[in-house]
Every structure is written in C-alpha cells, then in structure tokens.
Amino acid sequence: MTDLAVQNSGTIPADSPFGAAEGDYLDHVSALPDGRFSLHLLVEGVHCGGCVRRIETGLAGMPGLDDVRVNLSTRRMSVHWNGQPSRAGDYVRAIQVLGYDVVPFDPGTAIDEHQRRSSELLRALAVAGFAAGNVMLLSVAVWYGHAQGMDEITRDLLHWISALIALPAVAYAGRPFFRSALAAIGGRRINMDVPISLAVLLAAGMSLVQTMQGAQHAYFDSSISLLFFLLIGRYFDHRARGRVRQAAERLLALGRESAVVLTEDGGQLIMAASRIRPGMTLLVAAGARLPADGTVLHGSSTVDASLLTGETMPQTVVTRDPVLAGALNTGAPLTIMATATGDSTVLADIVRLVEASEQKRSRYVALADRLSAIYAPAVHGLAAGAFLGWMVLGGMDWQPALLIAIAVLIVTCPCALGLAVPAVQVVASGRLMQAGVLLKSATALERLAAVDTVVFDKTGTLTEGRPELANGAEINSEDLMLAASIAASSRHPLARAITRAAGLDIVPRQGVHEEPGQGLSLGDVRLGSRVWCGIADQNEDFFLELWLTRDGDKPVRFCFQDRVRQDAMATLAGLRARGLKIEMLSGDREGPAAAVAKELGITTWSARQSPGDKCERLRALQLEGRRVLFVGDGLNDAPALAAADVSLSPSSASDISQNAADAIFQGRLLAPVLLTIDLGRRSRRLVRQNFVLSLVYNVVTVPLAIAGLVTPLIAALAMSSSSLIVVGNALRLAGGKR
C-alpha cells in the first residue's frame, strides 16, 4: 500500500479529534432473535493466520462476548455478544488497540443474493455430480450388456433405476438454466440456456418414454452429465465474478469518508459524509480528507489536492479560504463550514462526468455472447431440420426422428462452449490476483487484448505521487538528521520526505513551531520556504525545495522531486516492444510534466489537462480507430478511466477512480500493467483455441448425430472428452512462461 492509502484508512491516533467522538457503530449492530447482538466488520491489515489468532484471542474474555470469528478469505469478521448493544464500541476499540483498523459493514442484500446463488449452484452441482456418477455407472452396465446379451428385464430395471435417480436430479439441478431460459423466452429472446434446457428436458422426457416402452437405449446419462458439466462452468463463472465484486466492495467500504461534525453544544459527532448538510461545522484532522466543499473557519494548514487536479504542490489555506471536498489536509487540524455537499461539490461534478463517459462508452459485447447469438438459432435449426428431414424425406416414425433430433441437441450442446470462456477467466483472474491485480470487469481481459495505445496519467501513476529528496547525496548527514528531527512533527509532504530520507532512528524535537505554508522553526533554526528562511539567492531553477538555516552556518538546500516509479522505464520499454503507442496526459504544470516525459522518453504528452480535456483526447484517439488503455489514479482521471476502452488504476487511487477502472493493481511497481496486457492477450488466444476445439468437435459429431449414429455411449464420450480438453487447455495459462 502506498502512503496515501494508509492515510486514508490508517488507525486513529489517540490524540486526534476522532478519539473523543462516539462512533456510529450502534447503527450497524443488529439484534438476533436469541437475544444476542451481532456486528459485522471489515478488518484492514489481516494477512495471515497469526492476525486471525491475535484478534480472536485478543477479544476473548471481554465482558459479554459470546463469539468472535475472523474470516481470512473475505477479511470480514463477526462479533456476537450478550448484554448491551453499546458494547460494540468497546470491542471495536479493543481491535483498534491491537493495531487493526475496522469499518462497520452491513451484509447488504446484494451480497446476500450473491451468496445465495453461489450456494444454490454448488448444491445443484453436488446433486448433478452424484446423479451423473451413479447413472453413468448403471449405463456402463447397460452398454456392456448390449454386447453380452443382457436380458431385457435386467436392462429395463437398470433403466428404471437410472430414471429414478436422473429425473429428480434434473428437476433440481437444472433450475438455474430453466429459470434463465424462461426469462429469455418471456422477453422474446433466445440465449444459450434455451437449447440447454430443451436438450436436457427432451432427453430426460424421451428417455422416460423409451424406458416405459422397454426400448434399447435411454439418454438419462447424457441429460444429467450435460447438466453436470454446464454447472461446473456456471459455478466457475459465478465465483470469478463474486471474488472480484467482493474485493471492489471492500475497497469502497474502507475508503468511505466520514466526517466529524461539531454540534452547537460543543459536542462532536461522527457522521457519514453523505449526511453532511451545508452550514454544518466540520473538524478536519490533519491527514484526513475533506468530506465537503467549504470555507475555513479556524486554523491554517496546507491541503494537497493532487488527487483532484494532479497538481503536486500543496496549497496553503487560511481562514476564509475555500477548500474542496476530496483534498487531503496535510498540515494542522482545520475547522471548516460546509458550503456545498453531495451533488453540488466539485467532486460530484467529476462523478457526473464519469457517468456520462460510461454511458457513451458503447457497451462491449463479450465474444461468447456474440457467438451464442449465432450459435443458439443454428442449433435449433439443425435439430428441427434433422427431425423433419428424417420424418418427411426419410419416412421415419416421429419417435425415432425425435430421438435423432435430441441427439443433435445433446452433441451440439455447448458444454465445451460453456466452459471455454469461464475456465480461462477463472485461471487468468487467479493468476492476476497472485500478481496483485484485481480484475473488476468480466470482459476486461478481452478488451485488454485488443489495446494498441496506452495513455498514462503522470502524478501517482508514472510517478510515485509523492515528493522524495532528490539531492540527498549533497547534504551531510548531520544537517539531514537535524532537519529530519524538526520535520518529524509536520505532516507536510516535503517534511515527510525528509524524515523518510533520514531513516528510522530520528528523535522528534520538542517545541517545533509550524507556520502553515511557510515552514518550521525551532529556536533560531528554520526549515522552510526560500522567502521564510530569508535566502537572497535568486537561482530560479524550478524545483520543489526547502531550506535549512542556522545562525552562523551556510544555508542548506533540500530539493525534491516526484520520482518516477522504479520500473517505469522498463515497463514502457516492454510496452513499446509489444508495438503499443504511449502517451502521457497530466493535470500538472508543463515543467514537471516535461521533466517526467523527458526522463521516460515519452514523445507525445500534454500538460494542464482538465478531466474533460483528458476525455476529449481519448475520444480523438478512439475516432482514429485506436483501442486505448488508460492508466490513471487521480479523481481528475476518473472520467478518462471511464471513457477509455479499458482502464487500470493503482490501488492508491481515489475511490471514484478505482470504481471507474476495469482493473486495479497493487504495489509500487508499474510492471502489473505489462503483465495484465500479456495475460489478456494470452487469454484471448486460449479462448479462441477453445472455441476452435469445440467447433471441431461439433463438425465431427453433428453429421454423426444427424445420420442417427449417435448412441448414448458416443454422446457421453464426446461430451466428457471435449469438456476436459477445453478445461485442460485453459489450465495452461496457470503454468508455463510468465
């Protein structure tokens, strides 16, 4: 995690205004029917079993506590207790003391719905698996019996037992498909589930008729194993989406802004940012984000609006200055009067731009959906053609003709097609997750594969988004330590850069005075801006700088620079090697933008880009027929993220940007961008191979089926082997070269 994100969700220091206010955890406590109370929390910073144990044993033995359980997979925890609902606060504080930050979380309806469906699919999968295995076992006996002269009574008995197992199983396990098929027909559409349902139901129904008549063949095994394979694909698909959604929800909940409101009687109240109204007085702690647009009532400080504008230099604000929601207060605590909230903030304007861009972005139709639009009618046509052909032209009875039509439906049924995309997607998103990339959109991989232009934001994307000491080598360590010990008491980004450069063992000095926007002083030692330190030197080099002055000593200059990410050069080289065009759009001034462009060898770039400008540029590129990947982190990038064909955000990005992006990458390196594109291209290749494989399979089996040569044995073999081949092909993505 980068610095910004930690500030965003860091633990509350004991001396901050948050410590004194009563949290609003009570709103999230729910009473259970058995008289207990429960609270669900998202926990930040739980990484291993050790953390789970620390929290669980740390809380054990607290008064009233009945049960506490941390879920390591979802990073959620639930607490159950007896007694007063207000005990929630004690438990939360106890967890915070252990060093974990928590956010209350209501298992909302969306998540419930997702889990309900997930377990429905899993139950259906279990039932179908059980039935398929057992029916197949019986079928093998029947097939063997055909060759060995099994008597008719035994064969019919085995068929009846198969029917007994398969029919209830089909009725139960087929519901997810039947529901979706009915919905599609109700809406006068055809989706993939229509031929699936038709094939399953017809095969089961016809087999029952055959069994009653004591016929030689029954297709129960085909019907149920078809369901089994399709359910596997469906479950994969659902799980991949679910994991992504869960992670995205988590990010949102953790980033949710809350505000400290000063009430008229002098009390403090923590409130969700959405509940702030104009005219309220808000306290903004140092290091917190401003929850609303407003004017400063008391205090003076510096605010960092880099997420809003891309501008790297913090701005000084004093009483009566306007401040914007979303900016970070880096100096001293501020009291502000909210002037605009919710829909009327600058932040909300950006959100509106994002929404507009999202609407303009033509809805991408996934390859599989485009294919099924052709495939489903073709399958129906073939089956109907076979039925009519045999009856009218072949002079066959309707029953054997229908059997042939069913055989066509079964062998063409998109077992392999249904697995072709989900199997690749599950493997790819698992692979990406290992590398710290979170895929939010299901079609992002496909869109990534088509990209031919990559546009980067500067601040926080190509660069690390925070200034670092640039001339450390010229400064002697004594001066550095002195500056660091003074700087340690400030949250100003430049001061923090000095303390980072000095290392860990700094002793903060007592009695340091901070003059917001100017600098720090300790006695006669000053650390601050050129003017404040009284430097006469008129060297006009543009640089972020601080000066250290002492009586009798030569002033020392500290230069800073927003450093490019460590591997930016290598990543850009890799992108160029793959034939991708590179561009940079920055909201920052020309100077810093030019410096970064020069350092990285980017020839096409523009500075001072407003959020709207960035969108315009992307549109212009798209009109030229380019497929654009946009990588950005700031709020000012959010509209562009939504407008691009596909977009990536670092995990340090603002919530809105993370929301608008298709994928989020973690860590301080840029390499995941390259990896994601590579994996996108490889997935596309594998998906296409899988489609070709299942097509080949159809080309071979459909003529057999139409000719009436497909016995249940052939159908079963063909179906299973094509599914296994497709899944096996997808698994190649997990291993092999990077």
């Binding site: 291993c48 079993g49 789970v52 144990r53 044993t57 054990a60 941390v70 879920n71 390591l72 997979s73 979802t74 377990s119 899993l122 139950r123 279990a126 039932v127 059980f130 295995g133 057992n134 076992l137 019986l138 035994t154 008995l157 037992i161 197992i165």
Partner: protein, 47 residues
C-alpha cells in the same frame, strides 16, 4: 444377477450419504473461509 437387488441400493445409499454430508457441511458454513481453515490448523489449542 440377484445380487443387484442388494448391491444397487447399497451403492446408491452410500452415494446419498456422501451427498448428504456435503450438503450439510456446505450449510454449516465449512466452505466459507477456505484460507482461514488452512491457517487455523496451525494454531495451538485454545487455553
């Protein structure tokens, strides 16, 4: 062939038993935290 009268129900019964066990464990929430379950086995016994 008469053996089938016993053997098929026994085979199906065992299969159903396993299916029931799976459905029960699913309902009891045993698959909700696979990562956590893998780690918890390393914890020392409580108290």
């Amino acid at each position: 062939m008469n053996g089938l009268i016993y053997l098929i129900p026994i085979a199906l019964g065992l299969g159903l038993l396993a299916l029931g066990a799976f459905l029960w464990s699913l309902k009891a929430g045993q698959y909700e935290d696979m990562d956590g379950a893998a780690e918890r086995i390393l914890h020392d016994d409580e108290d």
